[in-house]
């Protein structure tokens, strides 16, 4: 018995580093969102800062205005314009002040320096006034404590001041955000690479290791220390592999069992075949022995009867001659029966063989018909042979062809009460055809199909009247078929029968039964 090949998966290549690592894909997905978030935060931060700077500047501007209000008012009262100019110039040096204006209570501009809102210089109405302004009325305070309004002091702060302050904050926020995004992203990437990718690669490697093993063999489980999703996956893989190993083991075991059963059965079959062949040889030997053993005593009976009838031994009276003639006829009939039974036994055993030798068909037919002459004369039947001129030699078994013609013509004579039997032979295309026509009792359609079956004679009543085993026609059929030909019959009750057989002119191989 051949040991079955253990079932294995095709060995895969060892795992290569993935061309698209998981970490990179995750980072690529995460990063834009992270950037967006960082940007949003920067915007919010800058907005808050903007408002806080605005408020600071408003406050500073108001307090500065209050600080210089009294000195400015004094200089306006005294109309000391140079001192007023110096005072306002000094104010302008303050970083948040971009412009100064001093007007009298009548609206006369005493000082106007630095940047002022455009309204004063004809600003279009739709542009917002982004300048911050702090204005205070200027009073002259008398010794008695009364005060008179003498003008207005206005300090202005341009939008550039706010922007300058916010810009520094914006830059800081932006840079820190980007740095943080890069830092967090890089950290994530490295972590994913080291933790996730390495774990997954380890698992892949372990599985590749499994696949080099026969599937039914248990393999070491993949080790993974954490109880996370990968842990679940590893657990499932381990369980799966163990289950697979068990299944494969079972399958292989069943396979081996199957092989064993097949081997046993094959051996049984071989034994049965040998027994059958031995039986066949015994049957074959039996047929040969029977053939010999039955014919040997018959040989003596027929032979002695023959020489007695011939008068070789001495003169016989008429009664002795008549009775010895009956012994001879019975012996010949017995011989025919034995021959038929032996033939049918050989057919049943598949041992009927025919030779394929060239012989003179004319001569064979003439001889056969001649030998049937006495029977025909005794029954008062005309027996005629018509040979077409083209009939010559044939490749086949001469003895068997004679046997067929003897059987068909003999039957025809037996079953014909009056009239004649005609045997004619002609060449029909690639075949030679022999027809045996009689004017006998004929055969009903219900019996035509059964004629060529063994052990069947047309209705059991005829067996009594016409002697024979009923084997002749089935033997004829088999013989004709062995010689590559065919046999058939056309008949109607009361109108006689025509039995025909055709044999190929070319040797079709003869062959075995």
């Amino acid at each position: 018995m051949v040991d079955p090949e253990p079932l294995t998966l095709a060995h895969p290549d060892p795992p290569m580093p993935s061309p698209h690592p998981l970490a990179r894909r995750l980072i690529r997905t995460m990063f834009p969102w992270f950037l967006l978030l960082a940007f949003g935060m920067v915007v919010a931060q800058v907005t808050v800062q903007y408002f806080s700077v605005n408020a600071d500047i408003d406050g500073d501007l108001a307090s500065l205005c209050a600080t210089i209000e009294q000195p400015v008012a004094d200089q306006v009262w005294e109309l000391n314009l140079p001192a007023l100019g110096a005072l306002t110039e000094g104010t302008l040096s303050h970083s948040i002040v971009s412009g100064v204006q001093v007007t009298t209570s009548e609206g006369q501009v005493l000082v106007m320096s630095g940047q002022l809102p455009m309204a004063r210089m004809g600003k279009p109405w739709f542009l917002p006034n982004l300048y911050k302004q702090a204005s205070l009325p200027l009073y002259f305070r008398s010794q008695r404590g009364s005060r008179n309004r003498i003008g207005t002091l206005s300090l202005y702060s341009s939008p550039g001041v706010v922007w300058q302050r916010v810009r520094a904050g914006l830059l800081t926020a932006l840079v820190s955000s980007i740095a943080m995004a890069l830092g967090v992203g890089g950290l994530c990437f490295v972590t994913l690479r080291t933790q996730l990718s390495r774990s997954v690669a380890g698992i892949s490697e372990a599985i590749a290791g499994w696949q080099s093993q026969p599937m039914e063999r248990p393999v070491p489980r993949i080790q993974y220390p954490y109880r996370d999703e990968l842990g679940d996956l590893v657990h499932a893989l381990n369980e799966n592999r163990a289950h697979l190993a068990a299944s494969m083991g079972e399958l292989n075991r069943l396979n081996r069992n199957q092989e064993l059963i097949i081997a046993t059965r094959t051996a049984d079959l071989r034994e049965a075949k040998e027994r059958a062949e031995a039986a066949d040889r015994i049957k074959s030997a039996f047929l040969a022995t029977m053939s010999h053993e039955l014919r040997t005593p018959l040989n003596s009976i027929i032979g002695f009867t023959g020489i007695l009838v011939q008068g070789l031994v001495g003169p016989l009276n008429d009664e002795q001659k008549k009775q010895l003639g009956m012994v001879r006829d019975s012996s010949n009939h017995l011989l025919e029966l034995i021959n038929d039974v032996l033939d049918i036994s050989k057919i049943e055993a598949g041992q009927l063989e025919v030779t394929a030798q060239r012989f003179d068909l004319r001569e064979a037919l003439e001889k056969t018909i001649r030998s049937l002459g006495p029977l025909a004369r005794k029954r008062g039947i005309d027996l005629e042979l018509r040979l077409a001129p083209e009939v010559g030699s044939l490749v086949g078994d001469r003895r068997r062809v004679e046997q067929i013609v003897m059987n068909l013509a003999g039957n025809a004579i037996k079953f014909t009460e009056q009239g004649g039997v005609t045997v004619d032979c002609r060449v029909q295309g690639p075949e030679v055809e022999v027809r045996v026509r009689d004017t006998g009792i004929g055969i009903g359609p219900e019996d035509l199909g059964l004629l060529f079956r063994p052990f069947h004679q047309v209705d059991s009543g005829t067996t009594r009247k016409y002697e024979g085993t009923g084997l002749g026609l089935s033997i004829c059929k088999r013989l004709v078929e062995l010689m590559g030909g065919r046999i058939w019959v056309i008949s109607a009750v009361g109108e006689g029968s025509t039995f025909s057989f055709a044999l190929p002119l070319q040797d079709s191989g003869g062959g075995q039964a």
């Binding site: 040969a288 053939s291 005593p297 023959g306 020489i307």
Partner: protein
């Protein structure tokens, strides 16, 4: 006397029958009931023809024919097999073993002598009977 025929046959009835027919046809017949005896007789008496049963106890007809044919002194003697074997190939086997002719049992007393005399070329073909 037309000649001497050695007949090797184990069945006493057949031996008697054929001997009777041949004697009636004016032949001298010497009998053997086994192959060994037959070969001894053939060597001793150099018959004109040997009739040989194929199925014999012990040494069978084919072996006898081969042995007779292997003896140069007996090579020219025609051997006619008489056998009840009627299987395909029996005739070929007999001829291959060295037989000159082959007659199937049961024999026909009317034509038997004529069938044998075919193998005795120097003799005129005689009709059977007295």
């Amino acid at each position: 006397m037309k000649g001497t025929i050695l007949y090797i046959e184990d069945n006493p009835q057949n031996l008697y029958l054929l001997t009777f027919i041949l004697k009636a046809a004016d032949y001298q017949v010497i009998q053997a009931t086994s192959g060994e005896a037959g070969i001894t007789l053939a060597n001793a008496q150099a018959p004109d023809l040997i009739l040989l049963d194929i199925q014999l106890p012990g040494m069978d007809g084919h072996a006898i024919a081969r042995q007779l044919r292997s003896n140069p002194a007996l090579q020219r003697i025609p051997i006619v097999a008489v056998t009840s074997y009627a299987m395909v190939g029996d005739r070929e086997k007999a001829l291959a073993a060295g037989c000159s002719g082959y007659i199937e049992k049961p024999i026909d007393p009317d034509t038997f002598v004529a069938q044998i005399e075919v193998h005795l070329p120097r003799r005129p073909v005689a009709t059977s009977g007295e």
